[in-house]
Point group: C2
Chain length 211, copies 2
DNA sequence: TCTTTATTTAAACACTTGTTTGAAACGACT
DNA sequence: AGTCGTTTCAAACAAGTGTTTAAATAAAGA
C-alpha cells in the first residue's frame, strides 16, 4: 500500500478540478467530496491549498521535464559529436513530443497538461510562479539550442520567437486539441496527430523565418 | 455630466483588477474601495458581478471589433476589386495592428488587452464565453480571408493554423510585450515595435508554410 | 498484549464572498 | 417651497472560504 491512498486520491481530484475549474474557483470541499476524503485531510497531508497545488504540479512536471531535458540534451550532444548545428525540427520534437505522449498516458495527465497550458496566462503571480520556476531551466536550454541551430539570428529575436512558440504550445495544451470555437459553420477540426504535425510545421516556419 | 461618474469609475477599477488579479480573485470590495465607491453601487449600476464583467468587456471590445472588422473587410473588398487574392500580411495587419494602437490609447486599454489575451485559456466557461461570443464573428471573417489568400491549403488546416496564431497573439496580449521570464541570464527583450514586426514575420511564415 | 505513532473524522473557527435592504442625500423640475 | 426619480450609504444577510482543534480510529512496533 502506498504511503497514503487518500493522499494520491486528493492529488488526482485536485488535478482534475484545478484544470477544469481553475485554482481559485476550486474549493477544498469540492476536491474532498469528489474523492470521498475528509476536508481536514488536505491540510493534514499537504499543509495548505497552495502547497497542494505545488504538489499537484511537481508530481507530474518533475518527471516530464526530466524526459524533455534529456531529449533536448541528446539532440545537442549528438549535433556536437557530428560537428553540425542541431536542427530546429529535432529540438522542437524533443520539446513537444514527450508532452503529447505523456498527455495520452493517463486521463489525469490530460487534465494536468491543460493545467500547465494555462499557467503562462495565470493572473495570480504566486500560482504562476509555481509553474514558471519548474519550466524556466527547460526554456533556457531550448533557447540555447535554438541559438546553435540558427546562429545567423540575434539571440533576442530568437527569445521573442521562442515565446511566440510558447504561446501556441500552451494554447494547444490547454485546449487539449479541441477547439474553443465549436461551431457548425467552421470546417471540421483536425485529428490530434495531424494537428501536431501542423503545429510542428507552423512553428518550424515561424522560427526559421528570415529576420 | 455622463450618466454616472461612479459607473465608469467602477468599470475602470474592475477592468484593472480583473486584468491583474483575475476575475474570480477580484472581490467587489476590492474594486469599490479602489475607486472610492460604495459596495452596493456595483449591484445598483450593473446588477451582479457577472454583469459587471460583461460591461467591462463590451465597453471596449465592441468598438475595437468594429474597427478590426472594417479593416479586414476593406482588405477583402479591395482584393476582390483588383481581382487578386488578398495577402496574408494585409489580413494579419488588419487584425493585429488596431489592437496595438488601441492598447496604447489609454492605460486602462492596456489592462483590458491583457484581460482579453487571457480569455482563451479562462477555465470558467461562463466567463470565457463572454469573450468568445464577441470574438467569434471576427475569427470567422479572418478565416474566410485566409481561405481566399491561401486557396491551395485545406480549410481545416487553415483553421488549425489560425488557432495557433490566436495562441501567440493572446500570449503577447496578456503579457503586454513583457516577458514572464525576467532573468539576467536571458538576452534583453525586444522593444515593442520590433516585437510586433517579429510577431508578424513569425505568424506570416507559419501560416504560409507548405502543407 | 500495551504503547505509540499515523491517520481520519466531525465540528467549529474566523474570515471573505456576492447580494439585499431601507433609509438618507442629492438633483431637477414645477 | 415641495415633490419625484436617481443615486449613495452603512448595515446586515446567507453562503462559502481555508484552516484549526480535539477526539476517535487504525496501524505498527515492542
Amino acid at each position: 500500500m502506498p504511503p497514503s491512498d487518500t493522499k494520491t486520491r486528493i492529488l488526482d481530484g485536485a488535478e482534475r478540478l484545478f484544470a477544469r475549474e481553475g485554482f481559485h474557483n476550486t474549493s477544498l470541499r469540492a476536491i474532498t467530496s469528489l474523492v470521498g476524503a475528509n476536508l481536514a485531510s488536505v491540510n493534514y497531508h499537504f499543509g495548505s491549498k497552495d502547497a497542494l497545488l505545488q504538489a499537484v504540479i511537481e508530481r507530474r512536471l518533475l518527471p516530464l521535464n526530466q524526459i524533455r531535458e534529456a531529449k533536448i540534451k541528446e539532440v545537442l550532444t549528438r549535433a556536437r559529436e557530428d560537428n553540425t548545428p542541431p536542427t530546429v525540427e529535432a529540438l522542437l520534437r524533443a520539446f513537444i513530443e514527450p508532452t503529447l505522449e505523456f498527455s495520452d498516458s493517463s486521463p489525469g495527465a490530460r487534465d494536468f497538461i491543460s493545467l500547465v497550458g494555462r499557467s503562462l496566462s495565470e493572473p495570480d503571480e504566486t500560482v504562476r510562479n509555481c509553474f514558471l520556476v519548474l519550466i524556466f531551466p527547460l526554456f533556457q536550454l531550448l533557447l540555447k539550442g535554438l541559438c546553435e541551430a540558427l546562429p545567423h539570428l540575434p539571440q533576442n529575436i530568437l527569445l521573442a520567437r521562442l515565446q511566440f512558440l510558447m504561446g501556441t504550445v500552451s494554447y494547444v495544451m490547454c485546449t487539449g486539441g479541441r477547439s474553443f470555437f465549436s461551431n457548425t459553420e467552421l470546417p471540421s477540426p483536425l485529428d490530434q496527430k495531424t494537428q501536431i504535425q501542423q503545429l510542428l510545421k507552423y512553428a518550424l516556419a515561424g522560427l526559421e523565418a528570415a529576420e
